[in-house]
């Protein structure tokens, strides 16, 4: 159970909008022990100057309402209260929030894309902070793409409020430049019979720490959290998931797969699932797989499942990290397929079933090309 002896359900209890309510992390905390703090460029200890820029552009479907609002808008911070120091720092520091609303029963006719473009030219230009609220009113449907590009030191919080019977599908693409630092919380709050599908793709950046979380406010909520990452030498890509089942008869499924290659490539995956006393009839499964393609790469994978009720429909987790299987490569090579192509086929196979889950065709093709490009390195 790692360094902590406290139950999982208490690890995420502290919540505040004020950075001062959280101690500055030292790296010994359970929540920070895998993250190289010195590479956070001061996001965690208040020393980052807020002089950086990330430009947010929204290309909305016609049924969608997009607003830029100030800090005092009541919709901001309504679904999510920061649970760590950097998240609170982002909340305390952003100037304008983007609010995307899909009216009740409206079905967005095409994907809505939010492009977040870091403007830094080289490091040392300071940090930027952001906040996005995506609100689906009852029975609304939306496909949303968050596309992170360019260079930045960026911390933000994203709130997904999925109303009763609504369906939100999100693809979040972390396609940053090599020197970017991104610390982000994505929180989804699911209403009764709401459906949430998240697909995270993390490829770029020096350090990315993304924490997707899900809570339920009514029964029948259904969340799929999928992700893939490709970690190159020197990169630190960390995904920390929390699904908090506090309502009966909800479902969650978490599947993250990553490949690592190169010296100092480091992937961290934390999958926390809590099934509280009230959450009878919960059905949950979480899985993480890592493929280590070279020496010098490291994957930390920690699934945590805490069940506080005796009445679950299903609960399980699995984690496996390993190398390319010699037997797979041998089989393909024994049929005349050259080594490089055999390796590419096996890695594509490893990710392949995941890519099919990306709902937006252009993004699916772009991710497939990006994975292909990673394999050429």
């Amino acid at each position: 159970m790692g360094l902590e002896t406290k139950p999982l359900s208490t690890l995420h209890e502290r919540a505040s909008y004020e950075p001062a309510d959280f101690e500055v992390p030292t790296g010994r905390e359970e929540a920070w022990r895998f993250t190289p703090l010195r590479r956070l460029k001061g996001l965690h200890d208040g020393t980052a100057a807020g002089s950086g820029h990330v430009v947010v552009e929204v290309d909305p479907a016609p049924e969608v309402v997009v607003e830029t609002v100030g800090r005092d808008d009541p919709r901001v911070g309504a679904a999510y209260v920061p649970r760590d120091r950097v998240s609170a720092q982002a909340y305390a520091s952003f100037e304008k929030a983007t609010v995307i609303t899909v009216p009740a029963q409206a079905v967005a006719s095409r994907p809505t894309t939010v492009t977040l473009r870091g403007q830094a030219e080289g490091s040392g230009e300071g940090a930027a902070y952001g906040h996005i609220v995506v609100k689906l009113e009852p029975l609304a449907e939306l496909v949303l793409v968050l596309d992170h590009q360019g260079s930045a030191v960026y911390a933000d919080n994203v709130e997904f409020v999925v109303g009763d019977g609504a369906t939100l599908r999100v693809v979040s693409l972390q396609d940053w430049a090599d020197d970017a630092v991104h610390v982000s919380h994505h929180h989804a709050q699911l209403g009764r019979d709401a459906t949430f599908r998240s697909f995270v793709v993390t490829l770029g950046g020096d350090l990315v720490r993304l924490s997707p979380s899900v809570s339920y406010t009514g029964p029948g909520g259904d969340a799929d959290l999928n992700g893939i990452y490709f970690v190159d030498g020197g990169q630190h890509l960390e995904h920390r998931l929390l699904v908090d089942h506090s309502v009966p008869n909800c479902r969650s499924n978490v599947t993250y797969k990553g490949a690592l290659q190169g010296d100092g490539a480091h992937a961290v995956w934390i999958g926390d699932v809590v099934i509280r006393v009230e959450a009878e009839g919960t059905d949950t499964y979480e899985l993480n797989r890592n493929l280590l393609l070279t020496d010098g790469a490291r994957a930390d994978s920690v699934p945590n499942l805490e069940i506080l009720t005796g009445e679950v429909a299903g609960a399980g987790h699995a984690s496996a990290s390993g190398r390319l299987e010699d037997e797979h490569i041998f089989y393909l090579q024994a049929r005349g397929i050259p080594f490089d192509e055999a390796r590419r086929l096996v890695i594509q196979g490893f990710f392949g079933q995941m890519l099919e889950k990306i709902e937006v065709e252009e993004i699916r093709e772009r991710v497939a090309r990006a994975v292909e490009a990673e394999l050429e390195k």
């Binding site: 089989y331 393909l332 090579q333 080594f339 192509e341 055999a342 086929l345 490893f350």
Partner: protein
Amino acid sequence: MSTLEIRDLQVAVGDKAILKGVNLTVRSGETHAIMGPNGSGKSTLAYAIAGHPKYTITGGQVLLDGEDLLDMPVDERARAGLFLAMQYPVEVPGVSVSNFLRSAVTAVRGEAPKLREFTKELKGGMDNLAIDAAFAQRNLNEGFSGGEKKRHEILQLELLKPKIAVLDETDSGLDVDALRVVSEGINRFRESGDTGVLLITHYTRILRYVKPEFVHVFAAGKIVEEGGPELADRLESEGYERFVKASA
């Protein structure tokens, strides 16, 4: 006309010597059966020829038309005309049968087959082996039954048309119907042209369907007796006992 010539082949796994000097020549048009008790090194012979990384060659040569296969990487051996039908084909997640077969055929033939022609060829090959068309979309060997895996190996044999095929216990784990289908596939391959077959088996059952001209008995890492089809009949009635005792 092709010749596979195994000369004084010695193979180890780790520090343990498994093959202790194997000599065997297979010419196209010939079918050789290698029979022997479990643990005699039959499968080691098959995998060492194909180049599996687990096996270390400690001596000897394996020449295909004069070229030493042991100097080539695994994929080059296959492209040179060697095929190994595996006893336990591995499951490869996420790689579809059709994608795999197209990649293999492209590699071995040196150019990508035209899609329409390949589709037709594949369908014909699958029909012959009573393989359901839906198979092409499934992941390689994933969830295949024992019989399905073996039929899929023979499908590859027929598509890749090697000069020399080594079939490692292709008959094991098959019921009589599946054995007949697989044997028909092997016989089609034998009749299709200039090809040689090295059939490795523990049981004589498959030899009723695929008739060898030469039978070799393998024990303790080498060939200990050779003969014609009558040797297989003798093994059928006597078993391997005298070879196991002799080598113990």
